[in-house]
């Protein structure tokens, strides 16, 4: 079964996949707890516009994706201050703008082709060495940032006001966090695909929330669930010739359902003191 790992493309797919599985839950945990689940969809559509811009303008599409999704992230944060009571509204506005821009750029680039499809649905064979470099660099930034600001992000997710009074620069960290989310999208989309990035941000976390006993635990369990989904998803999609993104996400949803059922049955609750 493991001989497929002798192929260069498969090694690259696994490397990218494992980084994705590490990073999506790290960022996703905070996203879910801050009830910002829609932000993944928004930034991934912005990065689709960036991909189309890259194709139309003949530059590396992941740069386009990174720039567009970071711009969208900053836009969301800016609008959030104008609509402070309706955080979702700012997300919806940027989502609409991103979809509109993506459609216009795609029609401009006349590029509705296999390449674009690979970005939309993820691909095992399309991950290049250049992609790996980009994915690794962004992953290191994201992992280090979460390590450094773990307590601050935790506090902000729990209680923004309290965090501000304890001297945490909440506004600056909120902006930085949204930028990290944008980076996470770009890291993930090569393997998972733009359509499904946001699911991988949310579903493993949803599963781990069912049984977790602490914050740290929530994060670690969701990384575990994501790793399982990605690794088994990549194998399955290779042997059954399926799009990897859909396979990975379906496996993670299945995992979530199994955990919910087992929890209902009551045979599976980690004890706490």
């Amino acid at each position: 079964m493991f001989e497929v790992l002798n192929y260069g493309f498969m090694q690259r797919a696994f490397m990218a996949g494992i980084l994705v599985a590490l990073i999506c839950p790290l960022i996703g945990t905070f996203i879910v707890l801050r009830r910002l689940s829609m932000i993944g969809d928004t930034l991934s559509h912005a990065s689709l516009a960036g991909i189309a811009a890259g194709m139309a303008g003949n530059f590396y599409p992941l740069w386009g994706a990174l720039i567009f999704s970071i711009a969208a992230a900053l836009g969301v944060e800016r609008l959030r201050r104008s609509f402070s009571q309706y955080a979702e509204l700012s997300i919806s506005i940027v989502l609409s703008a991103s979809i509109g821009l993506a459609v216009v750029l795609i029609s401009l680039a006349k590029s509705f082709n296999a390449d674009l499809m690979s970005y939309l649905f993820g691909s095992i064979i399309a991950v290049s060495m250049k992609d790996i470099h980009m994915i690794s660099a962004l992953s290191i930034i994201i992992i280090l940032s979460v390590y450094i600001f773990y307590k601050e992000f935790l506090y902000i997710s729990f209680d923004e006001e309290g965090a501000a009074i304890s001297g945490i620069p909440v506004t600056a960290l909120n902006i930085y966090f949204t930028v990290l989310t944008a980076m996470t999208i770009v890291v993930s989309m090569r393997i998972v695909g733009i359509m499904m990035v946001s699911s991988l941000l949310v579903v493993p976390v949803a599963a781990s929330l069912q049984i977790s006993t602490s914050f740290k635990n929530t994060m670690l369990l969701s990384v575990l669930f994501a790793l399982f989904s990605v690794v088994s998803g990549l194998f399955t999609s290779y042997y059954l010739d399926l799009a990897p993104g859909g396979t990975i996400v379906l496996i993670s949803v299945l995992l979530l359902i199994i955990i919910i059922i087992m929890k209902k049955i009551g045979s599976f609750s980690l004890s706490y003191r």
Binding site: L33, K151, F158, I165, S166, S214, Y272
Partner: protein, 231 residues
Amino acid sequence: MDINVLSAQNITFNYGSNTILNNVNLQVHKGDFLGLVGSNGSGKSTFLKICLGLIKPQFGNIKLFGTDIDKFKNWKDIGYIPQKATAFNQSFPATVEEIISANLCHKLGFGSIIKKENKDKIDEVLDIVGMKEYKKRLIGRLSGGQQQRIFIAKSLVSQPKIIFMDEPTVGIDKKSEAGFYDLMEYLNKSKKITLVMITHDFGAILNRVNRVMNVAEGRIFETDKSKVFSN
């Protein structure tokens, strides 16, 4: 020279055309145990939030330990227990320990490792509120009163020099309430921690605090303890 712990000067605050505070002043001295009273909607919580920099007044300025609030950096010296602290997302998956250690952010610096001395600090404040054995419990799985005690512990953990409390004993049983006030008196008298407390609890005003300020009709004025009962 003895600088005031808190100095609020000429504070005016409106919500739209609705004036909540009209040119109010308040000096809090080191060692005060100050009670802030007033009817519902009189502007007590608003005033406290202004003192903490959570809301910007349209006019006037706030100084904490002699420093303009915009330039103030020593936030670990400030403790805060908000009104309805327990109105958070009850399914938030953090333990009591994780919630309390959040208030040690500046002390711990970056990274996520908590040192032994800080763990001891967490144990100490949990012991004070009688919740030591709940350290590893999920915060959402505690009762409202127990959560309130956790928030009290949380406000103490950074060893603040002043604590602002917005109706801290709501939801706490009578016995624990007495314990809470004993603790506040101890912190105030022995540790010289300055306390500012919003409360509707006349017993506390009569027996525990040493200054009473009344908030009414956009003004704040010092009141004799005994006079509080007349309104």
